[in-house]
């Protein structure tokens, strides 16, 4: 079971997939590709772990416990 969190105006939208459920797995992978196409950045971490354990990922890892999507940045 993995969770993808996409930062948005609701705080974040959570997408949950189950390794044993091909449908949820495929849906999560599609959402990953959609977010990546928007130049967002994905970080994987063990569930609830501090930022030191977060790793930048560039392709969908179905074994990740938690993936957090953040937006591209710009000078303010």
């Amino acid at each position: 079971m993995g969770t993808m969190r996409i930062l948005d105006q609701s705080g974040d939208t959570a997408v949950i997939w189950d390794l044993d459920d091909e449908t949820t797995l495929r849906a999560a992978e599609e959402i990953f590709e959609r977010e990546a196409a928007q130049a967002k950045m994905a970080f994987a971490r063990p569930l609830g772990a501090p930022v030191e354990q977060a790793e930048r990922i560039r392709s969908f890892d179905p074994t990740a416990e938690e993936i957090i999507w953040v937006r591209p940045i710009q000078g303010g």
């Binding site: 105006q9 705080g11 970080f43 930022v51 937006r71 591209p72």
Partner: protein, 193 residues
Amino acid sequence: MIPSFRLVENIPEWGALVEVVGGEHHGARVLLVPAARVLPRAATGTARLGPPVQRPRRLVDDRIPSHERRRAEANRRAEANRRAEALLRSLLDDDQRADWRGRRAFWVPTPFGAVELGRLSDLRFDDHGGRHLVLCVLPLRSCELPDADIWTNLLLVLRGEPRRFFDVANYRLPGGPWQAGPVPLHPVATVSG
């Protein structure tokens, strides 16, 4: 019984709203529209009564009282802030979490120095050479995000893509004018983790 109509309201350029009195549909309201309004010109030999009326578009659902809309929006924002706050706190270590709780700001180590997150457009940066700068970096469309999400966003970029963070940052010396990035950097330390 032969039903009759009771006039409820005359609606200019539309017709008459009437109520059926008697019969099977007693009490039903019906809009009576002049034939010239609905039939093609060829069928009646007359012009339409007037141009079609542009109905106002409903931009907000004004059937819901405004105070209820405001309360729903306030609830939505409160829930968004709660979620964002929980996610940010989960990413912080104990010292950062205590800092965040106490003064709504915390320091983040990077290979180039420490950045303080917590004040929009006023991010302190102390590099390893003892230089102090003020930075401004934001996520795209940051105004959509709860504040805590903005810091989660920048915290993770500092963790995974620190060079990108300093490449896009606008910066200035304290009290000096803003300059466009990239920030001149002097990497002298490695951040473990």
